[in-house]
Amino acid sequence: MTTTVERPDARVPVADRAFGVTFSGLGRAFASRHEASRPVLRDITIDVEPGEILAILGASGCGKSTLLRIAGGLDRPTSGSVAIAGTAVEAYDTRCAVGFQAPRLLPWRTVQGNVTLGLPPGTPKADGKASVTRLLELVGLADFADHRPREISGGMAQRTSLARALARNPGVLLLDEPFGALDALTRLRMQDLLLDVHAAAPTTVLLVTHDVDEALQLADRIILLGLDGDVPGADIRQTVVVPGTRPRDRGSARLAELRARLLDGLGIDRHSADGRSEPDLAGPDLSDPTPNTTSKGTP
């Protein structure tokens, strides 16, 4: 079966508040004990359109979180640049909201108080209240609004963290494995929730995940980060435009084909792995580039 290269053109109209994100030749190296500096990311160039959902796939430790942190102004690139809506990202850029990999809730605040922290500054009290209440309903935590983080499960804490990021109603939503701690059923529900919220207010979303199915279900485009042979530092190995409109049929044959290709790119034997377990950092096998993916690297 052949898949199309076109962007899905039935996307919902873009809200004024959705911003494009431009990575230009971005690299990040960390000082290390052994070498002067160890490159983690190199030469990341991609234009994320306003309102687009971009999934960032890659093996554990390949720099997905680092890329997201740089986009949000929590870290700085050592080379290249990143811009939001054409202007350089500032420290703790206020145009972004971050859903961190660990929930990072304030232990002395209730679930509700933590979500309130996400509201945009200057939100009128009544509006903020209504918005927080609605978000807690959406993530299924209305009955736990007055609980402290230590009184709820890890999955509930992660949903609280997601609600906090959504509360900001940001121009760019940065989500770092937001569904990682959830059980399978809750994960599917929360994915639907994200799509619902996005459909209602189409913000730009950068979604880090190591779950290929999640990426295929949610994203307009998927980038696969990985190493090129022995060259240190991950770059974009594959860019995949996901065909069809959301919500997508999770069992579709076209997606199955893409899924297989992405799993190959992650260096996983698709017959033995389910794509949800975190693969080791390994050079991807890209010996069979296909029309619907743009790949670079080992010929």
Partner: protein
């Protein structure tokens, strides 16, 4: 951070619930419905850790308070009884161990001459004044060193060196500078109260969870709002244990100061009675110090409860 930050879900109109829209409600009608009842059921299934104190536990807490008060009185009463038995048996001469009655009489005698209340008042006043100065400066410098890198670099080594001086070593200097007046005693007590607060506060502020601070910054908090939302609640419990330590130190230094040079106060009562062989008064002074120390510490304990409920 005010009480208004917390929202009572009961005050939200029922029509608002189940209304599925964008977080800030930008009024688009395309919002698909989310199956809320299913989600709520899900939340219930996602078993949470039960809260440590559920509703209706108020009376149990009150019971515990009484239990603590009564339980805490058992050993002192036992000691009093044992003391009485030993002194009536004549095993130990009264020049070594006065009877409870003798100590009581000493108290009545001193109270009758107005000295008891004077000594208690002057000692308590010295402790509280010295504690207030020492703890206040300790909080301020602890905050500067704990929050600011520059403050840490400039001040921490010097304060560390001053802390290394055994505090009683200041006594001769203080007497030379301020004679035997109130200042020398207050300053010595302040020094005693300063270091526990400074050390605990600067250390606690330095070790506030960096990830929490980063997340809060990412949501736009900085400066004062970051301090009151994250750093202050995070360090409140350590700050209060620092204050309690400081208060104990303040009583310690009070006695040191009054033993060395004073004409009134519990430390003076101790040294004067010791020199005159009035062991009944020595016992009285020690018992009063125990009672006053415990009383002031309990007041701080009440403050701790309030502060933790308010901030942390």
């Amino acid at each position: 951070m005010t009480r208004h930050d917390t929202i009572d879900p009961a005050t939200v109109a029922p029509s608002d619930r189940g209304d599925v829209a964008a977080p800030a409600g930008n009024g688009r009608s395309r919002a698909p419905a989310v199956r809320l009842p299913a989600l709520r059921a899900l939340a219930a299934a996602d078993a949470p850790v039960p809260p440590p104190a559920g509703p209706g536990s108020g009376s149990r807490i009150a019971d515990q308070t009484w239990l603590r008060v009564l339980g805490g009185a058992v050993v002192p009463l036992g000691l009093l009884v044992a003391w009485q038995i030993i002194s009536t048996s004549g095993m130990v001469p009264t020049s070594r161990l006065p009877s409870p009655e003798m100590v009581w009489n000493a108290a009545v005698d001193l109270a009758g001459r107005g000295l008891l209340s004077e000594y208690v008042a002057i000692s308590t006043q010295r402790v509280l004044t010295g504690f207030a100065f020492g703890a206040g400066i300790g909080l301020a410098l602890g905050a500067i060193v704990g929050l600011s890198r520059l403050g840490d670099i400039l001040l921490a080594p010097t304060l560390g060196a001053i802390r290394a001086v055994p505090s009683l070593a200041w006594v001769p200097l203080l007497i030379l500078w301020f004679k035997i007046g109130e200042e020398s005693k207050i300053i010595l007590i302040s020094i005693g109260a300063f270091f526990p607060v400074y050390t605990v506060v600067s250390g606690a502020l330095r070790h506030v969870d960096r990830e929490l601070i980063e997340a809060s910054r990412a949501f736009g908090l900085h400066g004062m709002s970051l301090f009151t939302t994250v750093q202050l609640p995070a360090v409140i419990p350590s700050v209060i244990s620092g204050l309690r330590l400081a208060l104990a130190q303040a009583w310690l230094f009070l006695v040191a100061a009054e033993l060395i040079a004073a004409s009134a106060g519990l430390g003076f009562l101790l040294s004067d009675s010791g020199n005159n062989g009035r062991i009944d008064r020595v016992f009285l002074a020690i018992i009063l110090l125990a009672l006053l120390g415990k009383l002031t510490d309990s007041i701080l304990g009440l403050f701790e409860r309030w502060a933790i409920r308010r901030w942390a």
